[in-house]
């Protein structure tokens, strides 16, 4: 059972797509139910359609290879092994949308993959999978490197970075990138895994893809498993798998909690392992699953996450810039035994402000770990602190 690692002749998806009209390609992707694998889960076919319909002299396809969510390393594997298919996915998106240029925005820390990716681009050009692809349709791809900012994985910030501007500044949504993205032209930003899956769907059909997963989350998902497990690594699972099944598969039974979706994801405690499933409609993830064994102090985990967000907030909007610090201070207060219930309630109230008012996904999703870890382990920590006092 596999989508990513299915039998595949490089070029098959692209040739299929080029036989179709762009509208038919979009229709096929829509039928497959493919949703963005970066984590947000926006329907890919719809995104392409919006970009196709938006007004603009030029259109762009950007592959978001800025895999920066803590605990995520599945795109690294894909880039290493499957860049040829990724390029195909980009070319298919370009045909669907009407783009002539594409960029792979490669995470700065993945610089060592640059020769692999560039080699694949060269090879694709030679093999005619990039360049002039059809009468009147040319498409080429170049790679740009990020410089290490986590926020650049957020599509607006990524575009700003690509333009050479300080990330996170000035650009507000709406308009969305599909309307005004790179240099204010309609732009599709898709995750590495999404684009590879699009190529496979073109080759094998939307029905083949839909046989995996759930009604609302079709297909499979690559997940990067790390933490207190026997076999960490990258796994492909069908959507709808319970946390328990997952832990069994990776040798992580007995865990205290699992953080799904990275630092910005949510924490699932053991009592929910058998009822909660990996799916956009339940526990969504861009690919990160971090397992915490019984000995872990979840407040230490949260402090670590909050330190990360304080470091990585771009500092542009007030709720995220100032709010993260307050949340971090609260966790530290709890850990040092100085917090009261009131401090926690205040911080939880601030979480709702950050979710509602932050400018981008970073500030909006910080409340995910804070609320879920605090919700499940906060009382216990407060009580412990109380005892210590």
């Amino acid at each position: 059972m596999s989508v990513i690692y299915s039998d595949y002749n490089v070029g098959a998806g692209l040739s299929k797509a080029l036989e179709m009209t762009p509208e038919q390609v979009i229709e096929t992707i829509k039928e497959s139910g493919l949703r963005g694998r970066g984590g947000a889960g926006f329907p890919t076919g719809m995104k392409w359609e919006f970009a196709r319909r938006a007004e603009g002299d030029e259109r762009f396809i950007i592959c978001n290879a800025d895999e920066g969510e803590p605990g995520t390393f599945k795109d690294r594997e894909l880039l290493r092994d499957m860049t040829p298919v990724l390029l195909e996915g980009m070319a298919i998106a370009a045909w669907a949308v009407g783009a002539r240029r594409g960029f792979i925005y490669l995470r700065g820390e993945y610089r060592y993959l640059l020769p692999v990716v560039n080699g694949a681009i060269e090879e694709a050009r030679r093999a005619g999978r990039l360049g002039s692809l059809k009468d009147g349709f040319e498409f080429d791809v170049e790679v740009t490197l990020g410089a290490g900012a986590y926020v650049c994985g957020e599509e607006m910030a990524l575009i700003e970075s690509l333009e050479g501007v300080r990330s996170g500044e000035y650009r507000n949504r709406p308009p969305y990138p599909v309307e005004k993205g790179f240099i204010n032209m309609p732009t599709v930003v898709n995750n590495v895994e999404t684009l590879i899956k699009a190529a496979k769907i073109m080759a094998h059909g939307s029905g083949w893809f839909r046989q995996y997963g759930t009604e609302k989350s079709t297909g499979t998902k690559l997940i990067s498993v790390s933490g207190d497990v026997a076999q960490p690594g990258v796994y492909e699972i069908p959507f709808g798998m319970t946390i328990h099944e997952l832990l069994k598969m990776v040798g992580g039974l007995g865990a205290k909690a699992v953080q799904v979706g990275g630092a910005s994801g949510i924490c699932i405690p053991s009592e929910e392992f058998s009822t909660r499933t990996i799916a956009f409609e339940d526990v969504p993830t861009g690919g990160s699953v971090i397992v915490f064994g019984p000995g872990r102090d979840m407040m230490e985990v949260l402090e670590n996450f909050m330190e990360f967000f304080c470091d990585e907030s771009c500092g542009y909007c007030t709720p995220c810039r100032e709010g993260n610090v307050v949340l971090l201070e609260t966790v530290r207060k709890i850990r040092s035994g100085q917090a009261t219930r009131n401090d926690v309630d205040l911080a939880l109230g601030l979480c709702s402000t950050m979710r509602l008012a932050s400018k981008c996904g970073l500030g909006q999703s910080v409340p995910n770990p804070f609320e879920s870890i605090m919700g499940h382990f906060g009382d216990e920590a407060l009580a412990r602190a109380g005892e210590r006092r």
């Binding site: 500044e169 709406p174 990585e312 500092g315 007030t318 709720p319 509602l356 932050s358």
Partner: protein
């Protein structure tokens, strides 16, 4: 016909042009939405998030300032959710806003303070930092930065780069360490800052203020051995009333004279007098350049055409830094402030029999760059520092208040002589296009022997707030004796205000697109001096427009409207200076410039 969209805001059904922001819509309907980073002169930022509103069907709140309405929607501006978020944002901003309101220059006129009052905040919900993180940068002559009071709204950053094409302010670091600062965190004095003060005008808090001169001026006023004279520029008169609750554009000229007397200034003079001198000098200089071209056959470039005005010290530093190759085209005439300063400690001192060493020469300016200008080493032609202290409109307002003087209700009084009479031409120096108009009135008269052929002497094509104006005057049909070579010429004048517009004009000049332009007027600030960096906060296009109207209105009613008609100007040349561009004029009224590197 623009596409219209149906919207509901707080239950009110209405229709807006597609692309209108929620904030624009709210303002139109008089629905109050609090803002901090939004400013009518600047592109939207969406940084502070104070203006968030609820849009039905959307998961998150939306910043009203940046959200363009493109489809039907239902907007709520004061739900419990919205109010809670706004209070939180204010509390978060106050947390790191170090400094006490009572000791802040913006006390009573601070946007953050006003919002805290509006929201009735009674505690620091998320705590309050008490120790400073940064130090105050008062290394410059004009602008003081106090980063601890900065709330990262980036209005100054947008002002500096977008309005002024300078770009010395930017953002450094991330997260809670994010700070607005200069390139490589250099002291402001070591940067390319042109001291225009536009950032101060748009700063919502006390993070940016002018370098204070009030203490020094008070000290001089209290010293019985000092003879303290003040020259007042035209733009502050049209704006100082704003500091006393009067509407923008209330002309305060004569009441201000009374206030200055009450404060103890020994003489109150009018910078318009020296503005008239500027026109005589700069006009003569331009005519000499024209003669070189049309009689001697010199190329326009060699002759220094188009002549470029030199009254605006922010502009001077800017061109010295960014377009030094065009310095030879810049008029060598000093600005009215510095001409005045040179005369006070020479002509006036001699006439009154006062030792210039005992004269303290103060100027009231709408400008912060003037504080830099008076410190330039070139500005000591009287043998002393020509202008000792520059007060901004804001500083004088504060001094008047401190002295307990009720400015709006004072009786009116006149300027003192002999340097207290200016023409309307000198007065309109305060508005963009005004120097060009003043020059046009006089040059036209010299060349043709007649008044400029415009109704009421108003050279309308040079007026208004368009960023770059290129005005064509009527063809010269008749000439006075000696000026026959000007016959048949159609004079063209270009005007820019705001340095980003000046940059456009300079690039046009560089591209050879201004071949038939005689003269270029640049004022560093939007709207000209009336929008100067020393003027009362806040500023907006409407406020500047009101000030402009006040200036033009006053011009209309003055006995002399043209610089060459000013009897005191004639007296000055007869008694003291000799002739325009003559030897003494050259020594006292003209200057030179320096090429500054654009690198630091």
């Amino acid at each position: 016909m623009a596409e219209m969209v149906n919207v509901r805001i707080n239950g009110i059904e209405t229709e807006v042009e597609k692309g209108t922001t929620i904030l624009q819509l709210a303002r139109k309907l008089n629905i109050y939405v609090p803002t901090l980073c939004a400013h009518p002169d600047l592109r939207q930022a969406g940084a502070c998030r104070m203006c968030v509103v609820e849009v039905k069907g959307m998961r998150t709140l939306q910043s009203a300032c940046s959200f363009p309405i493109t489809s039907e929607m239902d907007i709520f501006t004061t739900t419990a959710k919205v109010r809670k978020v706004r209070r939180d944002i204010l509390a978060l901003l106050l947390k790191n806003h170090v400094g006490e309101c009572q000791t802040c220059k913006r006390n009573g006129n601070c946007e953050l303070q006003r919002l805290a009052a509006e929201f009735g905040l009674h505690d620091y919900l998320y705590g309050k930092r008490t120790e400073r993180r940064y130090s105050v940068d008062d290394t410059g002559y004009a602008i003081v930065r106090d980063p601890d009071k900065c709330i990262n709204c980036k209005r100054c950053v947008r002002t500096c780069s977008d309005i002024q094409a300078v770009g010395v302010l930017g953002t450094l670091y991330r997260g809670a360490d994010t700070k607005v600062t200069t390139f490589m965190e250099k002291n402001i004095a070591e940067t390319l800052c042109v001291n225009c003060g536009q950032c101060i005008n748009r700063c919502p808090t006390g993070a940016l203020t002018e370098k204070d001169a009030t203490s020094a001026v008070w000290e001089a006023l209290e010293d019985p051995n000092k003879h303290v004279v003040i020259q007042t520029a035209p733009a502050p008169r049209a704006a100082i009333g704003e500091l006393f609750g009067l509407p923008a554009g209330t002309s305060m000229t004569k009441k201000m004279n009374t206030a200055l007397r009450l404060m103890g200034f020994d003489r109150i003079f009018d910078t318009n007098t020296s503005a008239d001198l500027t026109i005589m000098e700069e006009g003569t200089e331009l005519l000499i350049k024209l003669k070189k071209v049309y009689i001697e056959g010199m190329s326009k470039d060699e002759a220094g055409l188009p002549g470029i005005t030199s009254c605006s010290p922010g502009w001077i530093k800017w061109i010295e830094q960014f377009y030094p190759e065009y310095l030879p085209k810049l008029s060598t005439a000093k600005s009215p402030q510095q001409m005045f300063g040179a005369l006070v400690k020479t002509y006036y001192a001699q006439k009154m029999g006062i030792d210039p060493a005992n004269i303290v020469s103060v100027s009231l300016m709408p400008c912060t760059a003037k504080k830099f200008e008076c410190e330039r080493p070139e500005m000591r032609d009287s043998g002393y520092k020509d202008v000792d202290y520059v007060l901004t409109t804001r500083e004088l307002g504060a001094m008047i208040k401190e002295a307990g003087i009720d400015l709006p209700n004072l009786p009116e009084s006149e300027f003192d002589s002999p340097l207290g009479l200016g023409s309307g031409a000198g007065l309109i120096f305060g508005a963009t296009g005004g120097v060009a108009e003043a020059a046009a009135r006089t040059i036209w008269y010299i060349v043709t022997g007649e008044n400029v052929p415009m109704k009421n002497l108003e050279v309308v094509p040079l007026r208004g707030f368009e960023g770059v104006k290129i005005a064509t005057l009527p063809k010269i049909e008749k000439t006075a004796p000696g000026w026959e070579f000007m016959k048949g010429i159609v004079p063209k004048i270009a005007v820019a205000h705001g340095l980003a517009n000046a940059k456009k004009l300079m690039d046009m000049l560089k591209a050879g697109e201004l071949e038939d332009v005689f003269c270029i007027e640049v004022m560093a600030c939007p709207g000209g001096c009336l929008g100067g960096g020393g003027q009362p906060q806040p500023t907006s296009p409407e406020i500047r427009e009101a000030r402009m109207k006040a200036i033009y209105e006053e011009d209309r009613h003055l006995p002399y409207r043209q610089s060459h008609e000013n009897p005191y100007v004639h007296q000055l040349y007869e008694e003291f200076l000799g002739e325009p561009m003559g030897e003494l004029s050259h020594k006292l009224l003209h200057t030179h410039y320096c090429r500054r590197s654009r690198r630091m």
